[in-house]
């Protein structure tokens, strides 16, 4: 018979989201010895451990830290508590009655009965296969994150002459990293007419190193039998199809992909959580509770963030929500949130109208907009609006809803966020 453990709160994932959520649950009244964090890697910290560049913590700590430094601040806090931490531990299954079944080398397979579960599994990179890139399948095609691990953790060069497809932040960071390690980064190609990365990364990682960024341009073919020998790139039209005659060949030994991140929701789907097709994460309320009672989600498993600082803030909300749930909270009455007119999604997707604090609604826009207004309406009535000089898909935005406004709404009302003319 396998081991059965009992905890108030099980946190799946020991990255920045999981750690902040666990600490927040403790701060909100859950006894520390009744909280456990399960992490599949051999230490806490998540993907931050390989992000050795700076730029983390400007919002949350008001200082500029590297990824491992940012993670270490939370690791230190967790280690000072009696919160249980199991590393090298993989969660195999979740059940609908909030059991977590996991496995590791020391304990074998065991079951944890939880009062509440926080999902904080993070996200993964989209692979090549998801793109229609023709050509051969040689070594040397890798995700930017995989390359980052080879360079920063394992200490090996994964290539010398690099083309990067996709201008997401990891791609931009790796353009600089590979250059600093002595590789030649030929270019970054972005299929969209704008970059999906942070403006500061375009300046600091590409422009400072004279690495060209080709917009509305993609890799259409990979060449090479054993290892990549080159790629063919081409400009694309407004339907993102290659424009004949614009093809050009670039010699390289590595194609790095930074073509989007996908929340890792295999476990969420096992228990049938209601999912948002746009974020590809679970739908949640303002405390980040999913459609399944007592199951919460935060960080990149919920929506892909651009800054870890926001992940921390979101996870603190989830930790607080889980604590309230464990202690027993009254039945919520929901109003729904949605984005239209250039707003691709909102998180949360619904809000308890009896919530007594200000609620931040996060969203991303579908395109680059200049001189517009972000408007929040309820039942056609404008609740809030703010002028924005620039909105871009690469930068997560937010709006506030005041508790007094929530109180006036009726259950089933819809809060609509949209981009309007200034």
């Amino acid at each position: 018979m396998s081991k059965i453990l009992n905890y108030d709160l099980v946190v799946v994932g020991g990255g920045p989201a999981g750690m902040a959520a666990a600490l927040s649950a403790m701060d909100n009244g859950i006894p520390e010895e009744n909280i456990i964090i399960l992490e599949r890697a051999d230490r806490l910290g998540g993907i931050l451990e390989q992000c050795i560049h700076t730029g983390f913590g400007l919002t949350y700590f008001g200082e500029e830290l590297s990824g491992p430094e940012y993670a270490q601040r939370f690791i230190d806090l967790v280690e000072k508590t009696k919160i249980a931490v199991k590393t090298d531990t993989m969660v195999l299954n979740l059940t609908k009655d909030n059991q977590v079944i996991c496995s590791n080398r020391d304990d074998g397979i065991y079951t944890i009965n939880a009062k509440a579960i926080i999902l904080a599994m993070g996200c993964r990179e989209r692979p090549r296969g998801a793109l229609d890139i023709a050509g051969s399948r040689p070594a040397g095609v890798m995700s930017a994150g995989a390359a980052q691990k080879y360079v920063n953790i394992d200490g090996y060069m994964p290539g010398h002459k690099v083309v990067i497809l996709g201008s997401g932040d990891i791609g931009l960071i790796m353009a600089r990293r590979m250059t600093l390690e002595g590789a030649k980064v030929e270019c970054v190609c972005e299929v969209m007419p704008y970059s999906g990365g942070l403006q500061r990364n375009i300046v600091q990682c590409l422009e400072d190193f004279d690495i060209p960024l080709y917009l509305s341009c993609t890799v259409i073919q990979v060449h090479g039998k054993d290892r990549v020998t080159g790629v063919t790139i081409a400009n694309v039209d407004d339907k993102m199809l290659p424009i004949p005659g614009t093809e050009r060949y670039i010699e390289c030994d590595t194609l790095m992909l930074s073509v989007g991140l996908i929340p890792e929701n295999e476990l969420s789907q096992q228990i049938g959580l209601e999912m948002d097709p746009v974020t590809r994460g679970p739908k949640v309320n303002e405390m980040r509770e999913t459609s399944h009672k007592g199951v919460f989600a935060c960080g990149n498993v919920l929506q892909v963030h651009d800054l870890v600082d926001f992940v921390t803030q979101e996870s603190q909300i989830a930790g607080k929500g889980a604590a309230q749930f464990i202690k027993g909270a009254p039945e919520p009455e929901y109003v729904n949130c949605k984005g239209i007119n250039g707003v691709r999604y909102t998180v949360p997707q619904r809000i308890n109208k009896n919530n007594e604090e200000e609620v931040k609604i996060y969203f991303r826009v579908a395109n680059v907009y200049k001189d517009k207004r972000v408007v929040v309406t309820v039942g056609g009535k404008e609740l809030w609006n703010r002028k924005k000089i620039k909105l871009a898909p690469g930068e997560m935005e937010n709006v506030f809803i005041k508790p007094e406004d929530l109180k006036e709404m009726k259950a089933g009302d819809e809060i609509v966020v949209s981009v309007e003319e200034a």
Binding site: G129, A134, M142, M157
Partner: protein, 478 residues
């Protein structure tokens, strides 16, 4: 040492032939040009066990397909290879195609195909709710199935090598000579194998090897087929293998479940000159999916997790040529083994075994022959009590390396240690599925590389994706 039999080519045909001879008390060697088994046509095809109504009656294709299809289920059970008898459907969209499926049915009867039925649109929709509304009827062949082609070759190689067959990788045949009843097969690297019988099962390279031996020429065309593989979340798309009516370039674009619950869409069919270039052509996938949507409208490139291409060797006579070389009945050529080559492979092995025995006489059978192999551990499919027992025995089974497919460190180490085991990243992938999932090795690639380096006692930078110069990493950072 002079081997009794040398088999050139470790695809599904070569490995099954090696297994067939491994039951006899004889010295057998299996020679492979690349670093692993199943690296040619075997690696990239539809994985279909065709029922046998496609080939013209009286051909080798017809005969060996029907026989192979009948043998496949038991063989896969014996070798622990994923197989499912899911049945196939050839869908007709108009009156002319309704006639075509009748012709196929009659041909199937002549060829000896069991369990066929012509069904109407209503029955078809009952079997496949996602079939196009335009479908008018179908030929349902219940004996058809799906198999994991590369796993069949890997299993056959493990069985053969477990029974004493020697496996030589990276042996690129340069020349073959014959003197005093012994063949000398020379590798481009200079090493040499001597054997009394040579079986040329080199797939795409078989015609060239035949020519190298005695100048005989076979007219073989390389035919490229491109595929898209869909995420497991699309598993409910269809349960049968869904064909459209065949044309002069083959059986057309199909939509089928794979043994691992993905959906496979393809292949295209184009003649190519360079049989080493398995590149997917620009724009090809858009075309394939447009064609596939004719039978199953919901398939979409949006759900694709990978695409690939394979090349099959098509002989101009549109048949398998399995025949001794002119003037030497101990050198046997297998030419033009294209579809239904996989379905036929167990029967081809049987046929070649008999052919050789007729020439050299029946050898003594080994007393301790094992027709199977060590059952591979598939951790994710075991019930919890078995998982626990395994972990108690070896804690490496508790460490999940590939998150997408739930593949453990224990399974990866087993795949490397097996007879004719994995020596590169793709070899581990084909044997265990580590890296086959949604992230396509993004997370587990570097861990698999570490385990390979450790098990093979090699520096990490020497580990390749699939042999040759397919290095993953270079020198250390400064």
């Amino acid at each position: 040492m002079v081997y009794d039999v040398a088999i050139i080519g470790a695809g599904v045909v070569g490995t099954l032939i090696a297994r067939a001879f491994s039951k006899y008390d004889m010295n057998v060697v299996l020679i492979e040009k690349t670093a692993d088994v199943a690296m040619g046509t075997t690696k990239a095809n539809s994985g279909i066990v065709h029922a046998g109504f496609d080939a013209q009656s009286g051909t080798m294709k017809a005969k060996l397909n029907v026989r192979g299809c009948a043998l496949m289920e038991d063989l896969c059970k014996e070798l622990f290879v994923p197989y499912e008898k899911n049945g196939s459907l050839v869908v007709a969209f108009n009156d002319q195609e309704l006639e075509t499926i009748k012709v196929l049915y009659d041909r199937g009867i002549t060829n000896g195909v069991p369990d066929m039925e012509i069904i109407d649109a209503a029955k078809l929709r009952e079997l496949e709710p996602n079939i196009s509304e335009e479908a008018k009827g179908a030929l349902w062949a219940k004996s058809a199935g799906i198999v994991s082609p590369y796993e069949l070759a890997i299993a056959a190689a493990e069985c053969a090598c477990g029974n004493g067959v020697e496996f030589k990788r990276n042996f690129d045949v340069d020349a073959i000579t014959f003197a005093d009843g012994v063949f000398s097969v020379k590798c481009k690297c200079g090493c040499e194998v001597a054997a009394k019988v040579v079986i040329n099962a080199a797939g795409l390279g078989a015609a060239e090897i035949a020519k190298k031996f005695n100048g005989e020429e076979y007219e073989v065309i390389g035919r490229l087929g491109e595929y898209g593989l869909l995420d497991r979340s699309c598993a409910g798309t269809c349960s049968h293998t869904i064909f459209q009516c065949p044309n002069e370039m083959g059986k057309g674009v199909l939509v089928t479940p794979s043994c691992h619950h993905n959906i496979l869409v393809g292949p295209s069919s184009v003649n190519v000159d360079d049989v080493d270039d398995m590149s997917v052509r620009v724009g090809a996938l858009r075309q394939i999916f447009a064609t596939a949507q004719k039978s199953v409208p919901i398939v979409s490139t949006r759900d694709m997790i990978t695409s690939f291409a394979g090349i099959r060797a098509h002989h101009v006579d549109d048949d398998f040529i399995i025949t001794p070389a002119k003037d030497n009945d101990k050198f046997i050529n297998l030419i033009g083994i294209e579809s239904p080559g996989l379905a036929s492979s167990p029967a081809i092995a049987e046929y070649v075994e008999e052919m050789v025995i007729n020439t050299i006489g029946k050898p003594v059978e080994k007393a301790n022959y094992n027709p199977s192999r060590k059952a591979p551990v598939v951790f994710r499919e075991l019930p919890p009590e078995k998982q626990e027992a395994l972990i108690a025995e070896n804690p490496a089974y508790a460490r999940v390396i590939c998150r997408c497919e739930t593949i453990t460190e224990g399974e990866i180490r087993d795949a490397i240690k097996a007879p004719a085991g994995a020596i590169d990243i793709d070899g581990v992938k084909r044997r265990t599925r580590a890296g086959m999932g949604r992230c396509q090795g993004g997370f587990c690639g570097s861990k698999v590389l570490e385990i390979l380096a450790e098990e093979l006692n090699l520096p990490k930078e020497d580990i390749t994706k699939f042999g040759g110069e397919s290095k993953i990493i270079y020198e250390r950072t400064k």
